[in-house]
Symmetry: C2
């Protein structure tokens, strides 16, 4: 935290007679924030700009946030290390980017065949999610907070229709992270390609398929112009971003500003889920109008069953290796078993009765 | 707003040397809040207690909220009038309770066959919802903010299975509000009974069916002990509560405290949606374990079609009568047409692939 050793003098505009004017001496705190995203990145970056605006207005400028995008700090996947070391007070990233360094970070973003966004927020805020995240991040001198949800991510863009598990075997697909491991386990030739090169790779046939996010962020990438089949998601039913905060920086804040920051993060995270819903709605509706040849598909049951079995196998391997992994996996599985039957009779039943397609 | 003409003297704990001690003079504001609910009402009342805790901590006590439950103010459905008159600074209620007084209030709670909670929050915060709400409430000297969502409400408890539209005709059912009008339009003998008398009425056969909320609030009422069929919802896919704030009270608050209140309301409202998801999950799972004879059903297609047709007819009648009604109805319908196809390929497709029942 860059503590400004200056006083912010604010004239207290008191309306009653015996205190017509006064001076308030208050300390100003500036938190530096490194985001994984480039400057002005839609949705993901909007979330930080909205957080900054809220805390600065609520605190009347006593708490400031200075945002550095990846063009400044040059380390989009170095947020974990930079915040841990105190190089930045806080960061905005996705927990599962650090799975290679710390496998248990993965669970706080999303898990294939796992919870939807409202279910996962339930686990975080009314179940054991926040405590378990703290168990993972505390040894690294950091606090972790949910940082915005993309909702159900799409299964990806495919040039050819997938009719059987054989159609996937040997297929060259860009799909990173744990979903990539699962895809690889069932025979997909998984490859990782930086976002900036994905379009060209798909166009030239270097890859046959790719997975990005959903309509709001996929439409600007133009994949629908070179691939026709848009598959439903299984791999990231509720990708939650995160804010990491250096514990020393957090502890230096007075309690009122800690709460101001906590509540603003909570609102900004929920807002991102709603903003994604809104923008995906607009983008998918535009895509359907302008590119009626794009076809939505879901994978055949045998593919889904194979992906589910591989997911369970890989999770069981993680649980074997580490007691904390097991604790998190079991907590998520139990929560899902309890909440999903409700989602089924509420949201699923309602949506299945919808006459709007 | 009860403005305390006292100064809150807070010792400023400044850590740097040249300002070791100081006194901050600050004004304290106390907002009085009347809630429709009785004292300590679960979920709905929790939302106000959570709001109070957040604003008081964030403002370091400068903004206080004093909550009066219905046992104190004796006017659970008088919130609109009391806040309008400035008798209370703010209230927590449901907009559609005031449909008899002001028909356009109805649309800001929920509409049969309308938007789900994330869709509706999209309409409020990223579409035209907030502006349209202001058009309705401004002439009454009030601001209106979303106040927490129950998610999809269940269609109700029925002693007998509904196999056709004839089974509903003449059936005595407790179902209030606009859904009651729709039910009445297709031939149900609709009756309104205060919550405290519902159980007895159903047990004695004074009514054959009733609609309340969902598992979290239905389970404590015990309806599952005297009726076996639990029907999926169509009438309130996303009931949103609301905070009403007297405009003069709002204008007296300094900008930082307005923003503190706005952000806290936004978080508390979202949180209620998640808390309901959590508690409904727990309650439905308990109900299934302890009362395996309870059966979930959805109405047959011909019933759904009739309910949908009646809903559209009644909405069209409202649109005929008032240009602002038409504007709101059209805004909601357009938003739904745009966002639902996305919900279908995202959430619906994902949930339909779930193997958890």
């Amino acid at each position: 935290m860059k503590l400004r050793s200056t006083l912010m003098a604010a004239a207290a505009l008191l309306s009653f007679s015996f205190a017509s004017s006064s001076t308030i001496a208050q300390e100003t705190y500036t938190l530096t924030l490194a985001e994984t995203w480039g400057p002005n990145y839609p949705i993901l970056g909007d979330t930080n700009r909205s957080l900054k605006a809220m805390v600065e207005k609520m605190s009347k400028g006593r708490l400031q946030i200075r945002i550095d995008s990846s063009n400044r700090h040059k380390a989009p996947f170095g947020i974990f290390d930079m915040v841990k070391a105190g190089q930045y007070d806080m960061g905005h990233t996705a927990s599962y980017y650090y799975k290679g360094k710390l496998p248990n970070t993965m669970f706080f973003t999303t898990v294939p065949f796992g919870m939807t966004a409202p279910e996962q927020y339930g686990w975080f805020y009314f179940g054991d999610g926040m405590d378990l995240a703290q168990k993972v991040y505390e040894p690294h001198n950091m606090l972790s907070f949910p940082g915005g949800n993309t909702g159900v991510q799409m299964g990806g863009w495919f040039r050819e229709e997938i009719k059987s598990i054989e159609d996937l075997q040997g297929l060259k697909m860009r799909t990173p992270g744990f979903a990539g491991e699962v895809m690889s386990d069932i025979g997909v030739a998984v490859t990782n390609i930086p976002p900036g090169e994905m379009y060209t790779a798909l166009e030239r046939g270097t890859i046959d398929a790719l997975e990005w996010v959903g309509p709001a962020l996929d439409l600007p990438m133009g994949f629908h112009r070179i691939s026709k089949f848009y598959y439903g998601g299984w791999q990231e039913p509720s990708a939650e971003l995160q804010w990491l905060i250096n514990e020393d920086s957090w502890n230096k804040l007075p309690e009122d500003l800690q709460e101001t920051l906590r509540v603003a993060m909570r609102t900004a995270a929920y807002d991102m889920y709603i903003q994604t819903t809104h923008m995906s709605g607009e983008a998918w509706s535009r895509m359907q109008e302008e590119h009626p040849d794009v076809e939505f598909r879901t994978f055949p049951d045998e593919v889904m069953d194979a992906l589910r079995a591989s997911t369970e196998k890989l999770l069981a391997e993680m649980a074997e290796k580490d007691p904390l992994s097991r604790e998190i996996i079991e907590s998520q599985a139990e929560y899902l078993q309890k909440v999903r039957p409700w989602t089924n009779i509420a949201d699923r039943a309602y949506l299945n009765n919808s006459t709007i397609e």
